[in-house]
């Protein structure tokens, strides 16, 4: 789980943060914090599905479920065999 959180945090930092943005933590609000918008959530979901060979149903991929690295890791864990 910790390793998974590190991977997600690194991906979000790399892909969604601007050069001068402050560092984020596992609890930083991503969607409600305006770091990842609803359109960009699609590419984040695609990354997770690809990385962990899972399929996240659309009704589970809600803004609330994607709102922090911690929450995303819980969601992904649900689908990882």
């Amino acid at each position: 789980m910790d390793e998974m959180k590190d991977v997600i945090l690194e991906y979000v930092t790399e892909e969604y943060l601007e050069e001068d943005d402050d560092e984020i933590s596992f609890d930083t609000p991503l969607i409600s914090g305006g770091i990842v918008d609803s359109f960009s959530m699609v590419s984040l979901k695609r990354f997770l599905e690809n990385k962990y060979s899972i399929s996240i149903p659309d009704d589970k991929a809600t803004p609330e479920a994607f709102d922090s690295v911690n929450k995303i890791a819980v969601l992904v864990q649900e689908f990882v065999k």
Binding site: E18, F39, S40, V42, S43
Partner: protein, 568 residues
């Protein structure tokens, strides 16, 4: 009693001079939106009334009275003037929904410069084409967005100043960059308001078309007349209202109805500069006691998805009037909002080019869920035959939506693109690019776009712009971009691509291409799906037939394929 009273009565002998009179404007007078939205309200005795309540990340809150808005916009205007910004220079506002965006907009207008707001999620390429088209003199932005400007600044010798509103001194600014802090600046009590006239350019908003680069829609200060009156009659804003427009001023709704409309009426508005969450939005309404809420179908459908239970956990009893804009509001959303909020969302239809509402559902009018409503008084609207551009009078028959030019907020041109502007008019009508029918009671019913432009979450995306950007990716040989149906956003971007030799189709590559477009253009333009194909359908002359791909996505008849190159 609503401000409009009877729609039928208002239509009788309607004249825009009614709004001129209320605003104390006479033909030939100076008319400056910046002054009307701040100084005039103070002169009316509302200097100490709250103009803006702002909430940002991490629970940050700020509040401004109309007098503070007046002083702050003077201060920004004076700063720009000192830098050498002159009347008609273009000043880009490239910020999140922070107070400096709203106040800076007025400051730019006060000195007679042209405000060019741009959506802060735009990537460097999207930013560049818009600044380059306008030959923008200055950009006002935040530290977090400076990196995007730095990537392109060497290509823009005309861009003299990059003004950073939240510089903290941690990293040195570069050439042409300058810090400005509204909080630390000495308030400027009075500045000379530039004597703009009715036809003086005010705002430049960029919108996308099917072909070519984005178009700069140029508005004038006289647009205030219809923005003021439509806000009063359609949004029904009254003196004690707390108004929330969820739109970003990077787009036209956020300026026409997120700045000009409410503040020209002296109404308190609140702004939430935080991403979407149903709970967050309901908490905001509850805490701020929002009375009038102007939002978008995509947001409403997202709230529908979040369910009814979360609504019940909040006290939303302050709400008294709801309206929607951006894309057609489906009947289910109207019915649902009436069920859960006790109020239907009333759809409004207008465009960047129209500058103000054209077809709307008015307070007190019978609501037909799914309909765009009826023309605003003073607006002559019709559906037109696509070949002859003659008016169709048969109820239920679909045609192009056309408007008789002449309302105050109508665009005056496309910046540096008069030819395309002229092409928007046929047989004395302005063509909106949308299709609809009119029923036997005069209600308009949207049926679709008349071109390939993609309306995603209420924002127009040009397939051409995305296709061009896709070709810049090292793996992409050819591309075609169409709209794909989407439950929440109505449409999303879908790309079909062929790959160059040496590249293999994979999910990993799809993700890389998606992110490439997201960063280069914007999250809105990012294809939500990429389909790898061996070849794209083309005419014998080599033109990609988007129509076929679109039909496939929407399960429609493919139609005439006689000009198709091959059918593989």
């Amino acid at each position: 009693m609503s401000n409009i009273g009877s729609y039928e009565d208002r239509n009788k002998d309607f004249d825009w001079s009614l709004a001129e009179k209320e605003l104390g404007y006479k033909d030939g007078d100076t008319i400056n939106i910046g002054w009307y939205c701040s100084d005039r309200i103070c002169e009316m005795g509302k200097a100490d009334k709250t103009a803006l309540i702002w909430e940002g990340l991490g629970g940050k809150e700020k509040s401004y009275t109309f007098n503070e808005i007046r002083l702050a916009s003077n201060t920004i205007g004076a700063f720009l003037r000192e830098l050498g910004i002159k009347a008609e220079d273009r000043v880009c506002l490239f910020m999140d929904k922070i107070p400096e965006l709203y106040i800076g907009f007025l400051g730019v207008l006060k000195i007679g410069a042209i405000a060019q707001p741009l959506f802060s999620a735009f990537g460097d390429e999207s930013l560049f084409v818009r600044l380059d088209n306008a030959k923008t003199s200055a950009i006002v932005t935040q530290r977090k967005h400076v990196a995007k400007v730095r990537k392109i600044i060497d290509k823009m010798p005309y861009l003299k100043h990059v003004i950073v509103v939240d510089d903290d001194g941690r990293k040195p600014l570069r050439e042409r960059e300058i810090a400005f802090s509204l909080e630390n600046a000495v308030p400027v009590e009075s500045i000379e308001i530039h004597p703009t006239k009715a036809e003086s350019a005010s705002v430049l908003h960029y919108t996308s078309g099917t072909t070519g680069q984005p178009k700069g829609v140029q508005h004038v200060h006289y647009s205030l007349i219809s923005q003021y009156l439509t806000t009063k009659w359609v949004l029904d804003l009254q003196d004690d209202d707390i108004y929330w427009c969820t739109a970003d001023p990077g787009w036209v709704t956020g300026t026409s109805y997120g700045i000009i409309g409410p503040w020209s009426l002296g109404v308190t508005q609140c702004v939430k500069d935080v991403g979407f969450s149903a709970v967050g939005w309901y908490e905001f309404i509850q805490k701020r006691k929002v009375t009038v809420w102007y939002s978008a179908p995509t947001a409403i459908r997202s709230l529908m998805k979040a369910g009814d239970e979360v609504v019940k956990k909040h006290d939303l009893s302050s709400l008294r009037h709801l309206a929607s804009v951006g894309e057609p509001l489906n009947s289910e959303a109207v019915i649902w909002s009436e069920k859960v909020y006790g109020l239907p969302f009333l759809d409004t239809y207008w465009q960047t080019e129209t500058g103000s509402m054209m077809l709307t559902n008015f307070p007190g009018m019978k609501v037909k869920p799914g309909s765009m409503g009826k023309p605003f008084p003073g607006i002559t609207a019709a559906v037109l035959d696509a070949e002859t551009f003659e008016q169709i009078n048969e109820p239920g028959k679909v045609g192009l939506i056309g408007f008789k030019p002449g309302w105050p907020a109508m665009m005056r041109t496309y910046w540096n693109n008069e030819e395309t502007y002229k092409g928007k008019f046929k047989n004395g009508w302005y063509l909106s690019g949308d299709r609809s029918s009119i029923d036997n009671e005069g209600y308009f019913w949207f049926t679709g776009r008349d071109d390939d432009v993609i309306n995603t979450g209420g924002h127009l995306v040009s397939p051409f712009e995305v296709e061009s950007a896709l070709l810049e990716h090292e793996a992409v040989a050819e591309s075609a971009v169409v709209a794909k149906p989407d439950e929440v956003n109505m449409e999303v971007v879908k790309a079909f691509v062929t790959l160059k030799p040496g590249f293999e189709a994979s999910v990993d590559l799809e993700l890389k291409i998606m992110n490439f477009i997201r960063k280069k253009l914007s999250p809105l333009a990012m294809p939500q799906e990429i389909e790898y194909v061996k070849s794209l359908p083309k005419t014998r002359s080599g033109k990609i037939m988007r129509r076929l791909l679109h039909a496939k996505e929407w399960g429609e008849e493919i139609g005439d394929t006689s000009t198709l190159e091959d059918d593989e």
